[in-house]
Symmetry: C2
């Protein structure tokens, strides 16, 4: 497959991102995305079922996190295994500039935000199965994943704003903040 | 407004739940829901824009949680204020039998599960604004809410399974489990 052919999907993704940014998701048509990418509408539908899916193709993040959890030291607690996995996701999130644009476009368009929540739920389901294969009880697995996702959101939004910190550092920072936030209140002196 | 008229919405909701349970969301039409409720399709559309919305009308939970957070003792931490609010949601969740049926129907139908995630995101947004009005920084507010929602999911799923515990007790139990799960690992003796 020649290079231009194999990159058609990437060109469609970049074209869609740009059009969603400049004119919004609702006002962008599949025909426009295809034209901007130098392709036909027919080509578009070889890669994506509709325009909402353009930004959600691929399962790199899910595959990466599941593989990391599966490879984690068996002595780690479920929470530690998840945090370690999340800290290594930086390679998937790069280039940061592109992720930042994507995050903004998704936040600005309800149909994309809805799809994004679903994708996150799918990742959570896959991680739950990975933890269950490590012997974690399903209810506990779901709980620890929900908490880890909260940490990941906190760390990732900082990573997008701060070019100097690593994602692993920010995951550790958010975990430390969580420990502090949930600590039992200190006894009040009366 | 006569009684039968004011309860039309409730009848439509119960009819939809029953039809989604017995034949699935996809195979249920608005016409069927209306007929089962003893109403016309036209009446249906006075209350709901489409069949997906039938199970998501009303903002009782959001309104309740926001009011609780606003009324919380100013000396409580954001996390404590949220947990206290969540513990009082039992009155909204009753009757439990109905919530259990609703949860099962939503889990079994992707279109409903997607809508449910969105509704939860709206509640999180409303709670974030409530915490910000208490002076909490937006990033921290979002983080603490994500964690509190994880606790709420854990507590609610146990409450649905166990008729004897109160939701407030189960929220406290999940918070205790969270503290344990995120505690730094004990030093290993070598």
């Amino acid at each position: 497959m020649p290079r231009w052919e194999s990159d058609a999907q990437g060109r469609l993704e970049r074209a869609a991102l740009e059009l969603f940014e400049t004119q919004g998701f609702e006002r962008t048509s599949v025909a426009q995305i295809a034209r901007t990418a130098g392709l036909t509408e027919r080509s578009f539908y070889r890669y994506f079922p509709d325009k909402r899916e353009v930004l959600f193709a691929g399962n790199e993040l899910e595959d990466h996190l599941v593989a990391q959890v599966e490879a984690a030291d068996p002595s780690l607690t479920p929470f530690e295994a998840l945090l370690t996995a999340l800290g290594t996701a930086e390679e998937i999130f790069r280039p940061r500039e592109l992720l930042l644009r994507r995050v903004k476009v998704i936040a600005a368009n309800p149909a994309l935000a809805e799809r994004d929540l679903n994708k996150l739920a799918d990742i959570a389901d896959a991680l739950a199965r990975a933890l269950e294969r490590r012997g974690v009880e399903p209810g506990e697995a779901r709980f620890v994943i929900d908490v880890a996702i909260a940490i990941s959101r906190r760390a990732t939004s900082r990573w997008l704003a701060d070019p100097d910190a690593t994602l692993a550092e920010l995951v550790a920072q958010a975990a430390a903040e969580l420990r502090e936030a949930v600590a039992p209140p200190a006894p009040t002196v009366r």
